[in-house]
C-alpha cells in the first residue's frame, strides 16, 4: 500500500478511506548542523488514522511540528487539500482546520475546562466586537451555537463532571483528555496528536485509544498521531510511518510494518554503522 496514488481504499474493518488530504514531499529539517528530518515523504488520506512511530529522537515530534507550522523545513513541500501550502505561522495553519495537542500538555491553566474547550471555537466566531460585548442578535445566537458544540464534545469525551473545574486542578490523564476536547472543538479536518498516551497508565491508555477511535468513527476526523509505544499504535492505526534517526524506514499497514526488517532492527537496536 506504499503507493503515492490519491485513490482511497477500504480498511480491514470495512471503513472507506478517501483521497489524499495532506502530502509531505521530501521534507528536510535541521537545527544548526543537526538533521532532525532527512528527505521524508508520506501522505495522509481523508478519514484515516495515520501513525508516525519510531524510537526516541527519531524526529517524530519535529515532523508533527512541521505539519502544524511550528517548525519550518529547510527543504520540501507541504500539500494540503490538493494545494501547495505556502510558508505559514502556526496560528494560520490552525485556521486552515489543522488542530493539535502537545506532548507536554499545553492548556490554559487559569481557565475552566469549558473555557478551554471554548477557545477551540475561537475561529468559528465571526460577529463584531460590540455585538459580542452587548451579547445581542447574531452574537448571542453564535455564542449559543458554539456553546452547544463545545458541550457536545465535552459529553462525547465524558468530562461533563469537571466542566467548571479549573484545569490546573485536574490529574494528568484528564488534562490530556481536555486538550483533545479543545482540539476537537475546532472541528478540524486534520487532528494531530503528539504522544496522546505518553505517561499514562494502562487503563488511561485504553480510554484514550477508545476515544481516538470513537472520534474518527463519529466525526470522521482524519487523525495523525505520534507514539513510541508500538503496541498501542498497531491496534489503533490504519497506516503507519516508521522513522528512525530522522529517516523514513517503513510505511504501510501495521502488519506490513511489523514484518519489515528495518523496523525490527530499529526497535530491537541493531548498531548503526
Amino acid at each position: 500500500m506504499n503507493d503515492m496514488s490519491t485513490e482511497g481504499y477500504t480498511t480491514e474493518d470495512g471503513r472507506k478511506i478517501g483521497g489524499t488530504l495532506m502530502e509531505m514531499k521530501n521534507i528536510t529539517l535541521s537545527f544548526g548542523g543537526v538533521k532532525a528530518i532527512t528527505d521524508i515523504s508520506f501522505d495522509i488520506k481523508e478519514g484515516e488514522i495515520r501513525a508516525i512511530i519510531g524510537p526516541n529522537g527519531a524526529g517524530k515530534s519535529s515532523m508533527l511540528n512541521v505539519i502544524s507550522g511550528f517548525y519550518i523545513p529547510q527543504q520540501g513541500e507541504v500539500w494540503y487539500k490538493g494545494e501547495k501550502r505556502p510558508q505559514m505561522k502556526p496560528y494560520e495553519v490552525a485556521r486552515l482546520g489543522i488542530a493539535r495537542t502537545f506532548q507536554n500538555i499545553a492548556l490554559f491553566d487559569g481557565m475552566s475546562v469549558l473555557d478551554n474547550v471554548m477557545t477551540g471555537r475561537l475561529n468559528h466566531m465571526t460577529t463584531g466586537l460590540f455585538a459580542q460585548g452587548l451579547w445581542k442578535g447574531k452574537a448571542e445566537a453564535e455564542e449559543v451555537e458554539n456553546r452547544e458544540k463545545a458541550e457536545k464534545i465535552i459529553d462525547f469525551l465524558e468530562i461533563q463532571a469537571i466542566r467548571k473545574t479549573p484545569v490546573s486542578r485536574l490529574p494528568y490523564g484528564l488534562k490530556k483528555r481536555v486538550e483533545l476536547a479543545r482540539a476537537l472543538a475546532a472541528e478540524p479536518s486534520l487532528l494531530l496528536l503528539d504522544e496522546p498516551m505518553a505517561g499514562m497508565n494502562v487503563e488511561e491508555k485504553e480510554d484514550m485509544s477508545r476515544f481516538i477511535l470513537d472520534v474518527n468513527d463519529e466525526f470522521g476526523t482524519t487523525i495523525a498521531l505520534i507514539e513510541h509505544d508500538m503496541g498501542v499504535v498497531m491496534d489503533l492505526s490504519d497506516r503507519v510511518v516508521v522513522m528512525d534517526y530522522g529517516k523514513k524506514i517503513g510505511d504501510g499497514t501495521p502488519d506490513e510494518v511489523r514484518n519489515n526488517q528495518a523496523v525490527i532492527d530499529a526497535y530491537l537496536g541493531v548498531s548503526h554503522d
Partner: protein, 333 residues
C-alpha cells in the same frame, strides 16, 4: 454631629475620589501584566505622552517643531487650528494604537520567551525613550489641559448635603471636586467595559488564552502579535484616560509620569492580575492615605501621604503576598 466625624467623612469621600485616579493608572498595569506577563514601568510615561499629545493636537502644535526648525532653519510652531476635545481625544487614541504597534514590532516581538526581568528592563528603557520623545515632540514646558471637564467644587452637592451636619454650624456640606466625580464615573464605565471585554468577547477570550500559554494559543489559531498590539493599545487608551484626568487636575508635566509609582502599592494590594483588584486597591490606598493624614498626620509632622501607601502595601505583602484578588499562590510539593 461632631466636627471630627463630619470632616472625617469628607476626607473619606475625597480619599475615594483620589483612589479612583490611582486605580485608573493601576488598571493599565494590570492589563499588560495579565496578557503578557510584562510589568510595564512605562505606563506612567504613557499617560504623560498621551496627555501631551492631546494638548499638542488640540492646539494644532507642529510635532518635533524645535527639531525641524533647528535642522531646516524654518520657523514652524503651529498649524493654526484648534480642534475640539472629542476630535483631539480620538486622534490621540489613534496615536496610542500606533505607539502600541511600534512597541510590539520593534521591542517586544524580539523578546518573546525572555525572562520577566529582561522584559521589565525593556519597559524601563521604553519609559525614558518615550519621555524624551514626548519632550521633543511637544516641548517640555508645563501645559494646561482643558477638554471641557467640569472642575471646582460642586455647589449642588454642598447645598444638598448641608443637612447632614444636623445643625452643626461649622459644616457647609461636603466639598467634592466635580472633576473627581467625573473621573469616578469614567473609571466605572471603563472597568465595566474591560470586564465585559475580557469575559464575553472573542478577543477577550483570546487575550486570556495568550496570557496563559503561548503555544496553546497558537494551536487554536490565535495571532499572538495581534493580541499584544491590542493589549498595548488598550493600555495606551487607559493611559490616555488617566492622563486626561491627572493632566486636567494638575497640568501636563513631567511629574505626571511619577503617578506610576503611586500605582505600585495599589497593585500590591489588589494583585497584579485582577481588574477589580486594581479598583479596590486604588480606593483603599486613596482613602487610607487621606484618613491617615487627617487623623495621625498632625501628630507626626504631616506629609504622611508620601509613604503611607508603601507601608500599607508592605504590610499586605507580609500577610497576603498575592494581593486581595490575585490568583492564589499554591505550591505543589
Amino acid at each position: 454631629m461632631s466636627d471630627n466625624l463630619i470632616f472625617g467623612a469628607e476626607v473619606f469621600l475625597n480619599g475615594l475620589m483620589a483612589g479612583v485616579l490611582y486605580a485608573l493608572v493601576a488598571l493599565g498595569f494590570v492589563l499588560i501584566y495579565k496578557a503578557s506577563g510584562i510589568f510595564n514601568y512605562a505606563q506612567g510615561v504613557m499617560a504623560l505622552f498621551a496627555a501631551a499629545t492631546l494638548v499638542g493636537i488640540m492646539k494644532g502644535q507642529v510635532p518635533f517643531s524645535h527639531l525641524i526648525n533647528a535642522i531646516f532653519g524654518t520657523d514652524l510652531h503651529y498649524f493654526g487650528w484648534h480642534l475640539p476635545a472629542i476630535a483631539g481625544i480620538l486622534l490621540t487614541a489613534a496615536v496610542m494604537v500606533v505607539l502600541a504597534w511600534l512597541v510590539q514590532k520593534f521591542v517586544f516581538r524580539h523578546l518573546v520567551g525572555q525572562e520577566p526581568i529582561i522584559l521589565f528592563m525593556a519597559t524601563i528603557g521604553l519609559a525614558y525613550f518615550l519621555e524624551g520623545v514626548s519632550d521633543l515632540m511637544w516641548g517640555s514646558e508645563i501645559k494646561k489641559l482643558d477638554v471641557g471637564l467640569p472642575q471646582g467644587a460642586s455647589f449642588w452637592l454642598e447645598e444638598n448635603t448641608q443637612w447632614l451636619g444636623f445643625g452643626n454650624e461649622n459644616f457647609y456640606g461636603f466639598f467634592i471636586d466635580k472633576l473627581d466625580m467625573v473621573a469616578t464615573a469614567i473609571a466605572a464605565i471603563l472597568v465595566l467595559s474591560l470586564v465585559i471585554f475580557s469575559q464575553y468577547t472573542k478577543q477577550g477570550r483570546a487575550m486570556r488564552a495568550v496570557a496563559d500559554d503561548h503555544q496553546a494559543a497558537l494551536s487554536v489559531g490565535i495571532n499572538l502579535n495581534f493580541i499584544w498590539v491590542m493589549v498595548w493599545s488598550l493600555a495606551g487608551f487607559v493611559a490616555l484616560v488617566a492622563g486626561i484626568m491627572w493632566g486636567t487636575k494638575s497640568g501636563v508635566q513631567f511629574s505626571l509620569s511619577l503617578i506610576a509609582l503611586k500605582a505600585l502599592p495599589v497593585l500590591m494590594l489588589g494583585g497584579f492580575t485582577s481588574i477589580p483588584g486594581a479598583i479596590v486597591g486604588g480606593l483603599i490606598i486613596g482613602v487610607g492615605e487621606k484618613l491617615f493624614e487627617f487623623s495621625v498626620g498632625s501628630l507626626v509632622g504631616g506629609a504622611t501621604e508620601n509613604w503611607f501607601a508603601y507601608v500599607l502595601a508592605l504590610i499586605f505583602l507580609v500577610f497576603r503576598p498575592q494581593g486581595l484578588f490575585g490568583e492564589k499562590i499554591i505550591e505543589r510539593v
